[in-house]
């Protein structure tokens, strides 16, 4: 998957990395070459996208060429979710004391912060990196491996960068939209980011297989529990939840990639 490779185009080098001054020293020739590499990469990506589009002409929208397949996935997801994941999450909320659930959320939030720090660095955002690293150190060290969000009480803002956003900042297109059962909405770019994250997560380095599996399951239940109320609103708001989720997801990701300042949408109406 090409989205996983680090970027090599000159304009994508994060500020402060060694890449930028080097490109200047090499002069125009070198940066032009680098730019050409970037262009080739973009053309290659465009070709892949064209092939994907051609192979699935049913999809009415460019961003969701696999819509028929995704809709089947969505139905499967609804079944698995309605019969297993959601009831478990509801029972979890009902029978687990709030203090325990908060600790669980904080524990996984601390892992999020760790990855947020890594991605702050990859995106060249020293201020955010400082905050997130501060959070991880504080909460891991003084907050019992992240169970207590001490940094939050101290008002250190929580970052939310991830690999998918980093790829977006680097200029890698999001690729086709995907709906994956249990996992939910994603894109090729964001999904690649989650795969990296899944392999690199501290949970994955736990040697005891049962503990590892319990933690993954708990992570899923914690995430699902946090979405219980939103889901209710979604069902009230949407004529077609599939379309609603897709547009919400893609808008949200765009917003996050641009750190809350996405370019204005094309005003084609009115």
């Amino acid at each position: 998957m090409n989205a996983v490779e680090p970027p090599q185009s000159a304009n994508a080098a994060p500020p402060g990395s060694s890449e930028a001054p080097k490109a200047q020293a090499w002069g125009d020739h070198a940066s032009a070459t680098l730019r050409r590499v970037g262009a080739t990469r973009r053309i290659a990506a465009a070709c892949v996208a064209t092939v994907l589009l051609g192979g699935c002409a049913m999809g009415p929208m460019r961003e969701d060429p696999f819509e028929p397949m995704n809709r089947v996935s969505y139905k499967v997801h609804q079944q698995i979710d309605g019969k297993i994941v959601k009831p478990v999450a509801e029972a979890y909320v009902q029978y687990t004391p709030t203090i325990v659930r908060t600790a669980v959320s904080n524990f996984f939030g601390n892992i999020d912060d760790m990855f947020s720090f890594v991605n702050d660095v990859l995106q060249g955002k020293p201020d955010k990196a400082g905050n997130d690293l501060g959070r991880v150190i504080t909460n891991t060290g003084f907050g019992v491996l992240g169970l207590i969000d001490i940094a939050g009480s101290a008002n250190i803002p929580k970052g939310n960068e991830d690999f998918g956003q980093t790829f977006g900042v680097w200029g890698i297109p999001q690729g086709p939209y995907l709906f994956i059962p249990v996992f939910g909405p994603t894109t090729v770019r964001d999904g690649s980011g989650w795969l990296i994250r899944g392999y690199a997560s501290p949970v994955n380095f736990i040697n005891d297989a049962p503990t590892r599996d319990v933690l993954w399951a708990l992570n899923l239940v914690d995430l699902r529990a946090s979405a219980l109320q939103t889901e209710n609103v979604l069902n009230q708001a949407a004529l077609d939840p599939y379309t609603f989720i897709r547009r919400s997801y893609l808008q949200r990701r765009e917003y996050l990639v641009y750190d809350g300042k996405p370019p204005p949408p094309k005003e084609d109406e009115q």
């Binding site: 939050g152 069902n235 009230q236 949200r252 996050l256 949408p265």
Partner: protein, 213 residues
């Protein structure tokens, strides 16, 4: 005697003051700055959520009435509907436009009523308005802070109208309501034309709301 007439004069003066204040207050209200308007309406809504017993009991019909009376007037439903329905709206008859706007409004009110019980224990912070003094379109930015969670931004796209500032889009955490509905409306129009869309909205509004949590 003199005491009584003095008292009457004082009462008369007070009454006059009250009337004048009312006269002055009405136009001042209409010209309320967009950020001040958002703040006032949000605070009002929050205080209702916290104090109204029927809201807390989850009386959906009552909640919808309150939203209709207190919040809906500050939205430009025609513009929201036009933005969400796009070309289909421009090609629709005035009667279709009205029905579409009415159904869309009902749906939004029902959705908001459903979402309202999530707003307990929340505080809202308001960012200073960055806009030219005589601009007619602004974005009012707010942030909803929930204990133990990342804050969510709620931005209101607003326009100046003869009857005060009105919102025509709400952007929650970067997700624009109008943009979301544009996809939904396009899909319905493609399947059954503008009447198909109106009927789909009407059917949705007639259905009982999803079980409240």
């Amino acid at each position: 005697m003199t005491f009584d007439s003095k008292r009457r004069a004082v009462i008369g003066a007070l009454r006059l003051c009250a009337m004048l204040a009312a006269l002055v207050a009405v136009p001042a209200f209409a010209q309320e700055a967009p950020d001040a308007l958002v703040k006032r309406v949000s605070q009002e809504a929050l205080s209702i959520i916290k104090s109204d017993a029927r809201v807390q009991a989850g009386d959906q019909a009552h909640i919808r009435d309150l939203i209709e009376a207190k919040i809906a007037p500050h939205f430009d439903m025609d513009r929201m509907t036009a933005l969400a329905a796009g070309r289909a709206y421009r090609q629709a008859t005035p009667e279709q436009r009205k029905r579409l706007a009415d159904e869309f409004k009902s749906l939004l009110i029902r959705t908001y009523a459903n979402a309202l019980n999530q707003y307990r224990d929340q505080t809202i912070s308001y960012e200073p308005l960055r806009a030219e003094p005589n601009s007619t379109e602004v974005t009012v930015r707010t942030q909803v802070n929930r204990p133990g969670q990342t804050p969510v931004s709620i931005d209101y796209s607003m326009e100046k109208t003869p009857s005060g500032w009105k919102a025509y889009d709400v952007i929650v955490g970067g997700v624009s309501l109008v943009t979301n509905y544009r996809d939904e409306f396009t899909q319905q129009v493609r399947q059954g034309g503008i009447d198909g869309l109106i009927n789909a909205l009407a059917a949705k509004n007639a259905a009982p709301p999803p079980a409240a949590k």
